[in-house]
């Protein structure tokens, strides 16, 4: 609980990559994921993102909170969507059988297709975000934000609040145990909720007091002396970063041109079989 950031230290290509480059990558992927209404590009991005993640953090990506989120979303978007999507018309055949849920009706091709597309879009973005978060140390992130023109004081506030969460949690635990030690009832759930109020007041008061002391301590260490402190990040933009940026930008431009000339490849209205879901053009 002491470390809220999801940063995983390492030495890979993406760890040494400038935070700004990774931010740009994330933005481009987010645009590309929503360009087409077909599973192909976002599916490709998801796979690329997964490979990048694996290169950077190895097996730890499977335990990462965001990977879990993608899997949970798969359940909701692909399985449930098939039943509940209002655009669903054509019941899907599972070896000649239809599957249906009470109240919602049959599992449909349209529901499956829309769920799949949406899942791939979201999860390709989440995958990139995971790459970004797990390879960018919070201080590099702050420096990156600052370099992009966000004021130093604001960046500092962000990093400060990141830390306030675990501290407040710990403080809440201390106050809670102190009050229990003095006989605060804790048997039923109702008691627990009642116990929140007496905990809340000292928590707020002590946080405010702490902030006052912290601000004094910060001043003692020169905070506020300048809006442009010396940057301590060792990361510089390398040639390979620029290459990566150029490739993704070119890809984006190509995709935008395709999108404008050929449309979004939406198959929703042409689904009659499983194979149709993975066709690029309607029969």
């Amino acid at each position: 609980m002491s470390d809220m950031s999801m940063y995983i230290p390492g030495n890979s290509f993406f760890h040494k990559c400038d935070a700004k480059v990774k931010m740009l990558l994330l933005v481009i992927v987010s645009i590309m994921a929503f360009l087409f209404h077909s599973p192909y590009l976002s599916g490709f991005l998801l796979i690329v993102g997964a490979v990048f993640n694996y290169i950077s953090i190895g097996n730890r990506m499977f335990k990462h909170m965001l990977t879990r989120m993608i899997i949970i979303m798969m359940f909701f978007l692909i399985i449930l969507h098939g039943f509940v999507n209002p655009r669903g018309e054509t019941p899907a055949s599972f070896f000649g059988q239809e599957i249906s849920l009470p109240f919602f009706g049959a599992y449909t091709y349209e529901g499956f297709y829309l769920g799949l597309v949406f899942w791939l879009r979201l999860s390709s973005i989440i995958m990139m975000a995971e790459l970004f978060i797990s390879t960018t140390s919070p201080s590099d992130l702050i420096h990156g934000l600052h370099k992009l023109g966000v004021p130093y004081n604001f960046c500092f506030m962000v990093s400060m609040s990141l830390q306030l969460i675990p501290i407040s949690v710990r403080e809440a635990q201390i106050i809670n145990s102190a009050q229990r030690a003095r006989g605060l009832p804790e048997k039923s759930i109702v008691d627990r909720f009642k116990g929140l109020l007496p905990m809340f007041v000292p928590l707020v008061v002590s946080s405010l007091e702490r902030m006052e002391r912290t601000s004094m301590a910060l001043e003692c260490r020169g905070f506020g002396n300048t809006n442009n402190p010396t940057s301590m990040s060792d990361i510089v933009i390398r040639k390979s970063d620029i290459a990566l940026m150029v490739i993704t930008l070119l890809l984006l431009v190509a995709c935008v041109i395709i999108r404008i000339r050929f449309g979004s490849f939406d198959m929703t209205d042409h689904l009659t079989s499983w194979a149709d879901c993975f066709r690029l053009v309607a029969r």
Binding site: S2, R213, M216, R221, G224, M232
Partner: protein, 288 residues
Amino acid sequence: MSEYILELKDVNFKYENAPTVEEPALKNINLKVKKGEFIGVIGSNNSGKSTLCALCNGLIPKALDGEFSGQVLVDGQDIKDVSTAKMSQKVGLVLPDPEAQLSQLTVYDELTFGPSNLELPREKIFEEADRVMKLIRLENFKERSPFSLSGGEQQRVAIASVLAMNPEILVLDEPTSNLDPLSTQEIFEIICKLNREMNMTVILVEHEVELMAQYVDRFVVMDNGRIVLDGSPKEVFSHREVFEQIKMFIPTVTSLAGEIDEEYRKWGNYEYPITLEEMIKIIDSRKE
């Protein structure tokens, strides 16, 4: 420039929201500190030691509200004329609460935070941070979050983060309250070394009178917002009656010598000892 690096002239201060309404926290404080001095400030709780520390870098009267009168000069410059942030280059203040002093994501960032606010060049900051890290022995914690450390470790980080700014005057308000005896002694040794080798002026507030007596050049004894004694350890501890009056202890050996005063006089014309080593030396020399 004046010959004193820090000068407090007729300072009075009363906290705005003080619990005891009438009593000012500091009354008529006059203190002159020469460059390179190592001063120990002692006194019972609520005697105004922390308030004195906050005066040295201008937190009082700027950040803490209250009635302030008098003048505080750092290197001949009135603290009212300079912002606390600017003053941090000259006066480093280590506060007693370690956790509230930490703000960065890693211990190393904590060390580079102060100097980077002073806009020093990068290389110099790294050099300084590495030096301090070695000095305070923090290498093993370099990449850890300061909030995940124990109280004692946090206190060491807090001290290190101020040292990294390389101030001319180092003011430490109970910097070892969370440390075990061995680490306390170690910190004292380090501070003493900085004082002797780099001629850093040190003002140290502590309760460990006996340990301090081994290191400091001068004691300032405070009681109830006033400076009651000011002088070398020997001078200060010769006023046993004052210590009795303000209910503070003096080093055991000094106290012992006082208790057996008549007998002690017969030993020869010795001054009262203040450290155990001194007493042992005196006893040894008598045997010969």
